[in-house]
């Protein structure tokens, strides 16, 4: 029983950064913007979170710094693609490259230093309950944030008027503009929210997952988050499921190996991407499915006519 709980806890830790980054990107893409810079914003969050936590000694300040740095960094993307209408794919890719390089430079003095770790939740009485206690009441704070965030985004997108407006912008920015909706303003806010989420996901890596700073420590998780959004066909609850499926597959194969079952670990590592391709093929086979799922103006620059 204990080992099952441990495995579930490990899966939750592995899935949390994927979930947070992907939920942020989902909101961005729902507004019609494709930001491929998730990996870059995530690593900026990781270095910012570690740095602030290390210098002040408080992982909570680190957490805030991670969110702030991710948001500020995404602002760069927003200015380029929204105000200057640059190509979103190219700008997003350069954001990732810039983030990886810049974070390495910022983090030079943090290398080889142990940092601050966010403590796990510990509620007297509740955390000690066998089995469910540690799962429900004994995890790191960012885990709870990730679940709350998913629920909040679901509610926002599908139950509020603002969420409806955001989705309509993603489907047709020209129609939304004609209706008098401030397309660029909405998109700015969406991109910054996505950046804050990516930063938080990076902070999870350097403050909870592996409390240290090393260059490239995101190791491609930003790309998995991007794949996850497509895999989930732009639905928040499917992002949640997808993050946990990807996490479970990864942790499962490690356990299988340790148990002595030979598994093709290279194949399993590529599974998130393969699954995404399969979903893309399924969606794009049918025109109705494409229209129902994909934000129609995704990736297209919008220049309001004056």
């Amino acid at each position: 029983m204990d080992i099952t709980v441990n495995i579930l806890l490990t899966i939750a830790t592995a899935a949390t950064p994927l979930l947070i980054a992907a939920i942020g990107e989902l909101v961005v893409e729902r507004s019609g913007v494709l930001n491929l810079g998730v990996e870059g914003m995530m690593i900026m969050g990781a270095v910012g979170g570690f740095g602030a936590g290390y210098l002040t000694g408080s992982p909570w300040i680190g957490l805030l710094a991670a969110i702030a740095l991710g948001a500020v960094f995404s602002l760069l993307f927003a200015v380029m693609t929204l105000s200057l209408a640059t190509n979103q794919v190219a700008t997003g890719l350069s954001l990732t490259l810039l983030g990886l390089g810049l974070s390495g430079m910022m983090g030079t003095s943090f290398v080889g230093q142990p940092g601050a770790r966010l403590p796990n939740l510990d509620i007297p009485g509740l955390t000690a309950i066998p089995v469910v206690g540690r799962l429900l009441f004994g995890q790191d704070p960012i885990f709870y944030i990730s679940i709350a965030l998913t629920a909040a985004v679901m509610w926002f997108l599908f139950k509020t008027r603002t969420g409806l407006t955001l989705r309509s912008i993603g489907d047709s920015h020209t129609s939304a503009h004609a209706l008098g909706i401030h397309v660029i303003r909405y998109r700015y806010l969406a991109v910054i929210f996505g950046g804050a989420c990516a930063g938080l996901a990076g902070g999870h890596l350097s403050l909870v997952y592996t409390p240290q700073w090393v260059e490239n420590m995101t190791a491609g998780r930003g790309w998995i988050a991007l794949a996850l959004v497509v895999f989930a066909s732009w639905r928040p609850w499917r992002v949640l499921a997808g993050a946990y499926i990807f996490g479970a597959v990864w942790i499962g194969q490690l356990h299988a190996q340790a148990f002595g079952i030979p598994v093709p670990s290279q194949l399993l590592s590529s599974l998130p991407y393969l699954a995404t391709i399969v979903v893309l093929v399924l969606i794009s086979r049918n025109k109705r499915l494409t229209m129902m799922n994909t934000p129609a103006s995704l990736g297209q620059p919008f220049v309001p006519d004056r």
Binding site: G104, V111, P114, W213, V214, N216, A219, W250, A258, G260
Partner: protein, 355 residues
């Protein structure tokens, strides 16, 4: 999305000298790393060696490096670029740079090339390596003494000879203390992914291992051990700061003396492609302080270290292969060629080698 970050490093003194007309021709020495120099592991230690060269040879040399260069054909460009930029001696520091380096060395016969941990040489390509397996034998002995469950968790990257050799040496060391000792082996298919390394460590601990060994580059696994109140070994550099209660010792790479001697040879014009394999005796492999263990275990580790310095090889027979067929006879010592191409397990390893 692989980034190729170039950082040209010159000392201020070197810069001012370069400005003067009568400045003597400086030798440009260059390095190619597979990881970031900020990994606090393998690439970090190579870069410390580069800094030692700068310190020792001062304004006679100029150094440059390329980090995060992916292994395989992509590395061609990195080596070619350095050769074109005037590097006179180039060190490739990872196994996967072997074929690219052989190819580029052929194109630039006037440039001196050195490759770490490989086995191909040519007229202007020498090889160098460190006998990390010597340290791993000591780790095995300590693990067998310290483990209560008799099971170690072993996190590994890729099934190359270097790694297989390490697993074998570790197991031989462990079995010399406890013949029933087991190691659970997990391949993570990466030299460097802290998150995956931490996950692998958690999985291994969950399955009953109580000592963690790694052949990957980050401190993540050791931090998990620290959190769980269990023990483990560092890798490439001394990681005691990350795991003050968990680190037993660490195999520390020290490339500095070798790099200094080779760049000096290049300066003097006495450089020839070599084939050296340095061990504990030469100071290229060092053991971090033995900590968190009883005195008798520490004494045992030190005795083994001394035995290795005096010339004993952990791969001394009798040793059988995994399937029980004899490999080395009583007193027979494995030759370096076999070790450098090692693609089989010794008896007692509980894993199937990925092909």
């Amino acid at each position: 999305m692989k980034k190729l970050l170039i950082a040209l490093v010159t000392t201020a003194a070197a810069l001012s000298l370069a400005a003067t007309a009568e400045a003597q021709e400086k030798l440009k020495a260059c390095w190619v790393y597979t990881g970031p120099i900020g990994d606090f592991g393998y690439s970090y230690q190579h870069d410390q060696g580069r800094l030692d060269v700068e310190k020792a040879l001062g304004d006679k040399v100029e150094t440059a490096y390329l980090e995060n260069v992916s292994e395989g054909p992509d590395a061609d460009r990195a080596f070619e670029r350095l050769a074109r930029e005037g590097c006179k001696i180039i060190f490739g520091t990872s196994f996967g740079f072997m074929d690219p380096e052989v190819k580029v060395a052929k194109k630039f016969p006037d440039v001196m090339f050195e490759h770490a941990t490989g086995y191909k040489t040519s007229d202007n390509l020498g090889i160098y390596n460190a006998r990390f397996y010597e340290g791993r034998y000591i780790l095995g002995q300590i693990a067998a003494k310290q483990s209560k469950s008799g099971v170690a968790g072993y996190i590994v990257s890729f099934p190359i000879p270097e790694v297989v050799m390490g697993i074998n040496s570790f197991m031989l060391g462990a079995q010399s203390i406890n013949p029933d000792f087991k190691a659970k082996i997990v391949w993570v298919n990466s030299w460097f992914d802290p998150g995956k390394e931490a996950d692998a460590a958690k999985a291994l601990f969950d399955q009953g291992a109580d000592i963690i060994v790694q052949h990957t580059d980050s401190t993540a696994a050791l931090q998990v051990a620290e959190e769980r109140g269990l023990q483990g070994f560092g890798q490439s550099s001394d990681m005691i700061k990350f795991a003050p209660k968990a680190q037993l010792t660490s195999i520390v790479d020290d490339w500095g003396p070798y790099y200094v001697s080779r760049v000096k040879a290049a300066l003097d014009g006495t450089w020839k492609p070599g084939n050296v394999w340095l061990g504990i005796k030469d100071g290229a492999v060092k053991m971090a302080a033995y900590t968190n263990m009883p005195d008798d275990v520490k004494a045992m580790a030190q005795a083994t270290e001394k035995k290795i310095v005096d010339g004993w090889n952990p791969f001394t027979g009798p040793i059988a292969k995994q399937d029980g067929t004899p490999w080395l006879k009583e007193g027979e010592v494995a030759d370096d060629g076999t070790l450098l191409g090692m693609n089989f397990y010794v008896k007692g390893v509980d894993d199937k080698l990925p092909q």
